[in-house]
């Protein structure tokens, strides 16, 4: 009989470039745009949320972390791409690879005017406290008045009871109350859930690519005019 497995780490996985690329690719779905855009020199794809972010960027330096954001270098000047998977270097040599979010400050100090984390798999599978810890690390590298564009899916956050919690309030309250720990004020939110007027519909919450829960945080500034 085959050995039984219940958890990713129970047995040794394959470790080669192909395997690492597949695992990276499975978790970084916006890599699709990079694959598409490198083949078409004339027309480049951008999704609506990317367009929204680009319209709202502060002038200056932008970091995109852990979400295959290298395809954005066509539109964002002075873009720094940071990833945690060394495999990224093989197809995007300009990427900075770090092991831990704590290395962000060590590498970049407080230098970014914008910071983007779009539905990053490596940010997930933590509770809201875990997300706050991530944001603390991002905040250290963001200048005053700098913006953090942060989005994720409700389905990938743990440590809460989906049957008892008003999810809208749960995520909004979290975002509105992380200033003391992170220095980041929530200045915009967009939280969407599916409409189940048909109780047997199967579609996912909207925007599985970018996440159905989107925030803009501003460093040490309580308000910001957002262009929709």
């Amino acid at each position: 009989m085959q050995k039984l497995i219940e958890h990713f780490d129970e047995y040794q996985m394959v470790d080669n470039n192909r395997h690492n690329y597949i695992r990276y690719r499975l978790g970084r779905i916006k890599h699709y745009y990079w694959l598409k855009n490198r083949k078409n020199k004339d027309v480049k794809l951008l999704d609506e949320y990317d367009d929204f972010i680009i319209k709202n960027l502060n002038p200056g330096k932008t970091c995109v972390f852990g979400c295959a954001g290298y395809y954005l270098d066509e539109w964002i000047k002075d873009l720094t791409v940071v990833e945690q998977w060394p495999i990224v270097k093989t197809f995007y040599p300009e990427a900075h690879i770090i092991k831990d979010r704590k290395d962000l400050y060590h590498n970049f100090q407080c230098s970014f005017d914008n910071f983007i984390v779009t539905n990053s798999r490596s940010d997930h599978w933590v509770s809201l406290e875990g997300l706050t810890e991530h944001i603390k690390n991002y905040s250290q590298t963001i200048k005053d008045n700098g913006l953090l564009f942060y989005s994720f899916r409700d389905t990938q956050i743990i440590g809460w009871n989906r049957l008892k919690t008003d999810q809208q309030k749960f995520f909004t309250n979290w975002a509105k109350n992380i200033y003391n720990e992170t220095g980041m004020y929530c200045v915009w939110e967009d939280i969407c859930f599916v409409d189940r007027s048909n109780p047997f519909a199967m579609d996912e919450n909207p925007d599985t690519t970018n996440g159905n829960i989107k925030f803009i945080f501003s460093k040490n500034k309580q308000s910001h005019s957002v262009r929709l």
Partner: protein, 172 residues
């Protein structure tokens, strides 16, 4: 260069083959415990005609039938059924059981109550206990037997290959 703005949509295309991709992470040397559990349940329960509603290919070793009318057990591993509204899940189960079917239902805990509706039941704060309570309180005229193990899922339990919360549901 011209920019084409496309709608935010799902770029995720691997759901049917996700388990096979994950199997290759381990050179196909291992078998998921949840797969073994389903197969053992069916074998020990002497079910001979299983109607399997699936999305991800699981390569189960079970006796299946092509028509739900002919089956003695309905097995649901399709993740989409966890994305019904909670009321929808209960109504769907009732409809099935009332047609004299037994059900082995695999639910993905991370999808439940996807539309953020008010369940209207007093449930335990512990999410895993609350899932069992919700099913039992909502299906008082049926036997609901939980078959899952308890653990904190931090994304490394193959839940998107085989949903994690398993229940056997039949008439009392």
């Amino acid at each position: 260069m011209k920019t084409k703005i496309v709608k935010n949509s799902s770029l995720y295309k691997w759901s049917r083959n996700f388990k096979r991709i994950q199997d290759r992470f381990y050179k196909n040397q291992y078998k998921l415990k949840r797969i073994q559990q389903i197969e053992t349940f069916i074998k020990q329960g002497k079910f001979q005609k299983v109607y399997h509603i699936k999305q991800t290919r699981l390569d189960l070793d079970i006796p299946t039938v092509d028509n739900i009318i002919d089956c003695d057990l309905v097995l649901v591993t399709h993740q989409g059924y966890s994305r019904f509204s909670c009321k929808g899940i209960i109504r769907w189960i009732e409809g099935l059981i009332n047609n004299n079917k037994n059900l082995y239902f695999c639910l993905n805990r991370h999808y439940l109550n996807i539309d953020n509706s008010n369940i209207g039941l007093e449930l335990d704060d512990d999410y895993e206990k609350a899932i069992v309570q919700w099913l039992k309180l909502s299906l008082p005229d049926y036997t609901v037997k939980e078959l899952s193990n308890r653990y904190v899922d931090k994304g490394k339990h193959f839940t998107w290959s085989v949903p994690d919360k398993h229940f056997y549901i039949c008439k009392n």
